[in-house]
């Protein structure tokens, strides 16, 4: 095998343009895909459960009422709500992938908001449960819901502030309010102060009441000038809702690291598939295959050599790519040995797929074209967000993604780069299984290869 490897490396060394393209092209494609996937559009599916009974979403503030239930419709503009009847059902929807997140509104949300706006004390909280199986999907749902919740907060705040300002104005300047169906005239602070000052002026100069009434006037001055007393309350209701975020499946991969993982795995796939398929097909194009397998090299060993060659070259290339990108995006270098495992196992699985393609295609140009054409849909299928397609199509895409190495390699790489869930063990086992299956297919294809 050593001499075959040396020979193939010599051939590659004498094809600088080919090697340059083989490296530059997938890296360019990978980076573009990585950036494009950093900002996915659309509405995430969100399981929505509210414990607030219908008609109980009103808060009273001063003499006015606000119905916070109507703000839910604003939230639904950014998501595809799946209304459920229990918290458990909401979590189940997230767990089985029907929803990328669950938003749970607790029963006490109304009383908490009520307490906050009337007393300045309260912690109205909604619960957001995210599925971290797919970091892009998780980020997508998180951003969509958080952005819309923020808008809801602003809307509620404005409404509450409008009511508060109106009430404060009445305290200051007086006005009419409805109490038990009767219109009652309120005396405002300013009028009260004017009246008291008038009263003071009418009192004898030495009247002891003057001192007491001046104290009342002083209080009124302070109250009028210091209506800023309400500002802590008003500022507190500026962001009345706290989002308590719960993540299933443990921590998640940061989006940047995930984009790097995509870029790296796309490069890994391109380089490995093209090299493995092309270099195997080259043996036949150069008519050397029959000479090699008449006792010099077994077909199995020849396949192994091509897989090792392609995996080695692609692994090295993508490792350099990841290291270079890590200058701009945080990747966890303390897990470097896992980088090697993820890229190595991924490269082996892609290499096995590559030799299967090379065995089927038999000619370099056909093998390269075949590998190239296969690469894009393999990556595409694995990267389609679950929410972008209907359930049936999603199931089909999941099956297709399962039988090719891209998704498993991506999971392994994203875990290796950031150290987050899901773990790296299962993807590596998956990759080994795929490598074995494709190696067997490649070995079978060699019969056709030899007979041609």
């Amino acid at each position: 095998m050593r001499w075959l490897l040396v020979k193939d490396l010599q051939i590659l060394r004498r094809s600088p343009l080919l090697v340059g393209l083989l490296i530059a092209y997938p890296i360019a494609i990978a980076l573009m895909i990585g950036f494009a996937l950093s900002s996915p559009p659309g509405k995430p599916r969100v399981a929505f459960y509210t414990q607030v009974a219908p008609g109980r979403g009103r808060i009273s503030f001063g003499s006015q009422h606000i119905n916070i239930s109507r703000y839910a419709s604003q939230l639904f503009q950014s998501i595809q709500p799946i209304k459920v009847k229990s918290r458990a059902e909401a979590i189940a929807k997230v767990r089985d992938g029907q929803a990328s997140a669950a938003l749970i509104v607790p029963r006490d949300i109304v009383s908490q908001i009520q307490s906050l706006v009337t007393q300045g004390v309260g912690n109205p909280t909604v619960q957001l449960i995210l599925n971290t199986r797919d970091p892009l999907e998780r980020q997508f749902a998180d951003q969509a819901i958080s952005a819309r919740l923020n808008q809801v907060e602003q809307a509620v705040s404005k409404q509450v502030l409008r009511v508060a300002v109106s009430d404060l104005h009445e305290v200051l300047s007086g006005g009419n309010v409805q109490i038990l169906g009767r219109t009652v005239r309120l005396l405002g602070l300013r009028d009260s102060r004017t009246i008291i000052r008038g009263a003071i002026a009418s009192l004898p100069a030495r009247s002891p009441l003057r001192v007491a009434l001046r104290q009342v006037v002083g209080f009124a001055d302070l109250a009028i000038e210091g209506l800023g007393f309400a500002s802590p309350v008003l500022s507190s209701i500026g962001t009345p809702l706290t989002v308590q975020q719960t993540e299933l499946h443990g921590a998640t991969t940061p989006t940047d690291a995930y984009a790097v993982a995509i870029a790296v795995v796309v490069s890994l796939m391109f380089v490995t598939l093209l090299l493995a398929s092309g270099m195997l097909a080259l043996e036949r194009s150069e008519n050397a295959y029959s000479r090699l397998v008449r006792g010099l090299v077994s077909p199995g060993r020849l396949l192994s050599e091509k897989v090792v060659l392609a995996a080695g070259c692609a692994g090295l290339t993508t490792l350099v790519l990841a290291a270079a990108v890590s200058a701009f995006v945080h990747l966890d270098w303390s897990r470097f040995e896992l980088w090697l495992l993820a890229l190595g196992f991924g490269a082996l699985a892609f290499g096995a797929l590559g030799v299967a393609i090379g065995g089927l295609a038999r000619e370099v140009s056909a093998a390269s074209l075949f590998a190239f054409l296969a690469s894009l849909p393999i990556a595409f299928v694995a990267l389609v967000p679950g929410d972008a397609v209907s359930g049936g199509v999603r199931a089909v895409l999941d099956v297709v993604a399962f039988v090719f190495p891209f998704r498993a390699a991506l999971q392994a790489a994203s875990n290796a780069f950031s150290g987050t869930a899901p773990g790296i063990g299962w993807p590596l086992v998956h990759l080994v299984g795929l490598a074995v299956v494709f190696a067997v297919l490649a070995r079978l294809s060699m019969r056709r290869f030899a007979a041609a």
Partner: protein, 261 residues
Amino acid sequence: MTATGERTSTLSARGLTKRYGSRAALRAVSLEAYPRERLAVIGPNGAGKTTLLGLLAGVLEPTEGQILRPSRSGAVGWVPQQPALYSKLSAAENLRLFARLERVADPDAAVNRMLVQTGLAERSDDEVGRLSGGNQQRVNIAIGLLCEPDALLLDEPSASLDPRQRERLWEFIGRLSERGTSVVFSTHNVTEAERYADRVLVLADGELLFTGTPAELERTVESSRTTPARPGPGEAGCRAGQRWRGDFEAAFVRFLHERGH
């Protein structure tokens, strides 16, 4: 190996049959190749010549039959019809690679020897893809000879060569044969077979029709003329019964025609 009289064959095949699905590419072919002998395998396209050589070389597995080869590793050299070379490697690198894969004791010495023997020493560092077809064929043959085989199998070795290169090739093969190597070659060119082969083996549609010297083949055709036969395809414009005399190609065509091929 088998012994016939005082001669021991280098290569022996018994009842070789090769089927691809229901199609028989070769049917019950037997042959012997002896030291210093040049055995030509001739026949029309699709006769099974390449299949026979592939079986003898060990590239293909026979469906039925048996092949006896020398037990020594590399004792049977094989030169496929299309040069089996890496075009991005030089002549010397190609030879060195196969010498190493063949586990030749001293690869560099073997490479130098073959470069000298094939007259390619001055072009040894040239990429094979830049060599002429004739020189590529020389490298191709040199690889087949790296292990100094007892038997050399050449599949249409002169097919892509010009007349001058062809002449050099046959001189080279003649010298090999004189040194004791059994040479088995296939060819379309029956004139070459007559000229350079000690014996010919005629195949048609996977069937062995004749084994003997070129002269014996001509005599067989001539003797068959004792009974009139209609002119064969190669006899157009000539008087039947005279065209093949002294013309091995015409005799060969007549031979095939008489047997329904």
